[in-house]
Amino acid sequence: MDNRFDHIEDSLRNAFEGFEMPVTDMDWNAIEAGLQKPERRRGIIAWFKDSRKRRWGLLALLLAGSGAAYWLGSAQQSLPAAGKITAQEQPAPGKTPENVIADNGTGVEPNTKESGILRKEFSAAQAAERNNTKVAHNTNPVNNIYPPPKPAERGISIPADPEEGVSEGTTIHEPKPGFGSLKGASLRQWPVLLQNMMLGFLHNWKAAKGKNPDGGPKSGLECYAQAGLLYSPGKLNSSTPSGNWEGTQLLTTAIPAIHFRAEAGAGIQVKNIYLYSGIGADASAQTLAGTEYKVKIATRWIPYQNMQGDTLYHLAVQWKDSVVTIGNRSGNRQTQLWAEIPLGVRHTIRLNNQWDLNTGLQATFGVLASSNRQVANPYLGQPADYWQYKLGKQADYTSATLDASEFLRKFRAGTGVNLGIQYHLPKFDLGVQTTGLYYISQTWKNTPWNQRNIMYGLQLRAGFKF
């Protein structure tokens, strides 16, 4: 029946024949302002859409990367040691390098694959011993990046840093395993010192892998998955726009929400500390069902230009289209789905052989993936069955304070705390934890981060060790 207009269609088409509505001055002003507005840029993405700029950008990145690599390489060769050990920490006469390694507190057994690297470092020391000289041994692979220390005699001062010429009695300066001192480091030394810190962390982790001298969880890689229900006590009104959303509506009812939150990721356990990151999802649904009483103030965004010529928007209130709604929300409760990237740290206290007590801190960043109601325009969020009463008849614009534009996508950032217990099984741990999260988020895309949201609840957690 394509394009075959019957009589109903003819009547309807005739009804709209020549139908037009008057365009107001405000429309033309808005159009004029919109035409004067500079084209919106989307940061680096828009920049990289330009193929010419993309080529130059990649070339610049390549050059910068090569320069950085060269700089790091040359810095490693020229930088002196930063840490120090005392002469008393040198190996006792008669001790073999292997014994020294076994005693060095790292827990790495001699004659194992792990200690192979360490043993290689003693080749210079063995040669020195054969020549009846005392050598300050370097037992840390981190120090491979430094030149071998010069032979030293007890009681003779050796400067810590040839450039500084510092002398400290009988101490022999040598890189400290792990975290070198950054204090007083020159700009040139920073990359190497940072590298030293990272290698030190890895070294500590390698040395502690599969063990924990403090009696806590064994160090290693761990994947985790957790899920649970959280509750968000939303109290919506214009002055405290917390809860789920909607900063511009005056609601006489609070709309709390239930969140189903799931998260999975991986992390690294070093002794009692677990650092992790992953991906998560937070699906929320308003819990309010039944009758709803709502006062909705109609708003419009009025563009204007400030003294600098920038186009800004005033939120104006229009009484003409404002409504009082009495409705039933049960058929149309708002749901939202947020995608999240959590990043966290957890500390474990071993209670006994089976149980751990965990405390954790988390930071998370989320983007609204979908919602069953239009986020950009709250007008459309009507309850399933509603009755509404329109206020007034004349347009009455009252300027409000928000500067914003109306777009759909919005972001949020949050911090949280966890407290929980977990039970050990051979390959994995099972636990339960209480979670509290505090979010700040945008009302709409490109609007200020002026919404606050708290949620708390229980989550089940499973950790899988490698």
Partner: protein
């Protein structure tokens, strides 16, 4: 053009927004106008696309149209041959009560003269969905006008 926007939008405010956005697009795209069609036709298409884009910004856009297979038969009803006079405001009031999916397809098919194939391509839905939604939209309007006493049932 505001009348056209109003047909697609659920409120006058939204229509004004679509009009403003549409005119900005028109002015920014004037250099692309090749004169293949009349200027008002070309502009009209831009305004229609702008109005449709507004729907696409809604996160529930995908649920606006009940999906049906391509080969689904449209629920076409036969109405008595009783053409009736009605004015645009009456029909607009009825259209404001319509589900958004009905509204868009009714506008495109009945008032713009698109074919169901063109509608399917424009909205990213199947042809069967377009046909069925249009049939339901027509029934919705007919029933509402009967209730209002504009048309004899």
């Amino acid at each position: 053009m505001l009348g056209l926007c109003r047909r697609y939008c659920k409120s006058e405010d939204d229509a004004h927004d679509a009009l403003q956005e549409g005119f900005i697009k028109v002015f920014n795209s004037l250099e692309k106008y090749r004169g293949d069609s009349a200027l008002d036709t070309w502009m009209g298409r831009i305004f229609i696309n702008t109005a449709i884009d507004q729907y696409k910004k809604i996160s529930t856009y995908g649920k606006m149209f009940d999906s049906l297979p391509d080969n689904a038969e449209a629920e076409d009803e036969v109405y008595e041959d009783n053409s009736f006079p009605c004015n645009a405001k009456e029909v607009l009031l009825v259209m404001d009560q319509m589900p958004e999916g009905y509204r868009v397809i009714f506008n495109l098919y009945c008032l713009e003269g698109f074919t169901h194939r063109q509608i399917a391509e424009t909205l990213g839905i199947s042809e069967g969905t377009s046909k069925s939604q249009y049939a339901r939209a027509k029934k919705f309007i007919f029933d509402a006008l009967v209730k209002k006493g504009v048309v004899r049932g």
